[in-house]
């Protein structure tokens, strides 16, 4: 527990919470703008529309934020030359574990806030609880975690933090393409594509009558499991790499 506390203390002045808050606020404003001039007669299911819009917003905004967040977690040690200090008081495996857990705490709060936003907006139009709210939370958390660990490992492995940031910019575009390139398996091959891969809503747009029909399909559990396995591999690889190379950083 004390190791986690220390990791949280190191976050002071890093404004990581503010970073997530800004993105969340931007998402809220974007959603309000979307709903503001919406013609409700043009589609059949507001919940379907909300979840696709929110997931698309996440695809656009979140990769860069997670890259910055992961980069700060890693870089605070590199800048202060602190590994040789910390490693006399805690094991290197513990340092990596704590960073991953602290990251997960932020991601849980962020994903929860987004799920609450979806639930509030959804229940405003369709009163009552929906399982889609929970599915949305699970989707966000799993994809966030996969992207975060990837960026964290990349930040630890790179001497310059520009590389992880450039990767995340490229990944954002690839993630957006994955939404629109249905005919290719791109969305299943990269973690940024899983916002689309785990979206269980389909949309059919009838141009002649300008009507969108949203249809729900069963939640893609298999792809979620594959993503969770990927997260596990990322964690194990990252932890091993970190233990082996920590003092080379």
């Amino acid at each position: 527990m004390k190791f986690l506390l220390v990791e949280l203390k190191k976050q002071k002045g890093q404004f990581s919470g503010l970073l997530f808050l800004l993105v969340f606020s931007f998402t809220v404003l974007w959603l309000l703008w979307c709903l503001d001039d919406l013609d409700f007669a043009c589609f059949n299911d507001i919940t379907g529309l909300l979840i696709t819009n929110l997931l698309l917003m996440n695809t656009i905004l979140v990769p860069l934020v997670l890259a910055v967040f992961a980069s700060r977690l890693a870089d605070v040690e590199r800048l202060g030359n602190t590994y040789k200090w910390l490693c006399t008081m805690e094991s290197s495996g513990c340092i990596y574990r704590c960073k991953a857990i602290v990251g997960a705490v932020y991601l849980i709060i962020f994903a929860l806030a987004q799920a609450v936003l979806f639930a509030l907006a959804g229940s405003y139009f369709v009163p009552g609880f929906s399982i889609h709210y929970i599915q949305y939370f699970v989707t966000l958390l799993a994809v966030y975690e996969a992207i975060f660990l990837f960026q964290l490992n990349l930040s630890f492995a790179s001497s310059s933090q520009l590389l992880p940031l450039f990767v995340s910019v490229g990944a954002t575009f690839t993630g957006i393409f994955s939404w629109f390139l249905n005919q290719y398996p791109l969305r299943y091959l990269i973690p940024w594509g899983y916002f689309a891969a785990l979206c269980n809503v389909g949309m059919y747009y009838q141009e002649d009558i300008r009507y969108s029909t949203y249809t729900w399909s069963p939640y893609p559990v298999l792809w979620l499991v594959i993503l969770l396995v990927f997260i596990g591999i990322e964690y194990l690889w990252g932890s091993r790499f970190f233990r082996k190379h920590i003092l080379d950083f």
Binding site: V6, T82, T88, L247
Partner: protein
């Protein structure tokens, strides 16, 4: 006999098949200040990192505070150890006080320790300033304060005076000197400057090219230092020839060592005879012998290599 606080046996480490620490067997006794001396790249930092388990050793054994160190007990042993390796470590986004709080939390020490160590390194007035805004000297002091937290039994300091101004170096030296008797600590301090080590340590270990070439008391190192008798006469050539044929011939060193060879202090003895240092009686007899030859004896002086020269000679011999 004092207890060995650090004891290594045949410690070896290679990078890319090149040995950087080669069979080093250190012995640091309790309550001593052990100076670990060597030129840049000699293997001092690597050795110290191995002592802390920060760099895995290839072979050999390390015993710290009486415990054979391995990966399992390393952290527990190091709880009684303070260290400052290379540049100081700090979180720039935190204040000096908050940085030390991190160590206190991880080591399970009360926060009251922070004010105590800050006072020792005279940083108490700067404790609420962000570490990123500290000067290099202040960061170094923060590093020392960090190492002193909890009054560890063993302190490993790798070139701790780096970045300090002359006044800071003096202050740091006095602090280090006071640690064994004031707090019962054992200090191992590394440096590439003999003059620095000479002023704080009683025992030294000299490492060059990864090999420990001397370990023992500084006085022992001084004893290894050969002395010479420099004699300047009115006719050095004649004096040398006469000595060579006299009972004092054994005092003449081999040819290259002779007259004019001692360039380290060329004036006024650059044109003088250089003899192995005789006893007082022999010196008197030799002087009488030269005077009786009708030679003017202008100057008789005993000379020895400075410790610095001896150290450089030892290091050079290993490098060759």
């Amino acid at each position: 006999m004092k207890t060995a606080i650090i004891h290594t046996d045949n410690l070896t480490k290679s990078y890319h098949r090149r040995p950087v620490v080669d069979g080093v067997s250190l012995l640091v006794e309790e309550n001593s200040i052990y100076g670990f001396l060597g030129p840049n790249g000699a293997g001092k930092t690597t050795t110290m990192k191995m002592l802390l388990g920060l760099t895995p050793k290839d072979s050999g054994s390390i015993s710290i505070l009486g415990h054979q160190m391995n990966e399992k007990n390393r952290i527990a042993i190091l709880k009684e150890t303070g260290s400052l390796i290379e540049n100081p470590s700090y979180y720039g986004n935190l204040t000096g006080y908050e940085n030390l709080k991190i160590s206190c939390t991880l080591k399970g020490l009360p926060f009251s320790e922070i004010d105590r160590v800050l006072k020792i390194v005279r940083m108490d007035s700067q404790k609420n300033k962000k570490a990123a805004h500290y000067s290099l000297g202040m960061k170094q002091r923060l590093g020392i304060a960090n190492a002193l937290l909890g009054s560890p039994r063993l302190l490993l300091l790798d070139e701790p005076t780096n970045g300090l101004d002359p006044a800071g170096i003096h202050e740091m030296r006095e602090l280090i000197k006071s640690l064994p008797h004031k707090y019962g600590m054992t200090v191992m301090i590394s440096s590439h400057l003999l003059s620095e080590i000479e002023q704080v340590s009683d025992t030294v270990g000299i490492i060059s090219n990864g090999r420990l070439i001397y370990q023992g008391l500084l006085s022992g190192l001084r004893a290894k230092n050969p002395r010479f008798l420099i004699i300047k006469t009115s006719d050095n050539q004649k004096a040398e020839t006469a000595i060579a044929k006299s009972p004092f011939a054994h005092l003449l060193p081999p040819a290259p060592q002779n007259a004019g060879s001692r360039q380290s202090n060329p004036s006024p003895l650059s044109q003088a005879l250089c003899l192995s240092c005789p006893s007082d009686r022999e010196t008197a007899d030799l002087t009488k012998f030269l005077v009786e030859l009708g030679l003017g004896v202008y100057r008789i002086q005993e000379q020895e290599d400075s410790l610095e020269e001896l150290y450089l000679k030892m290091v050079k011999e290993v490098s060759l």
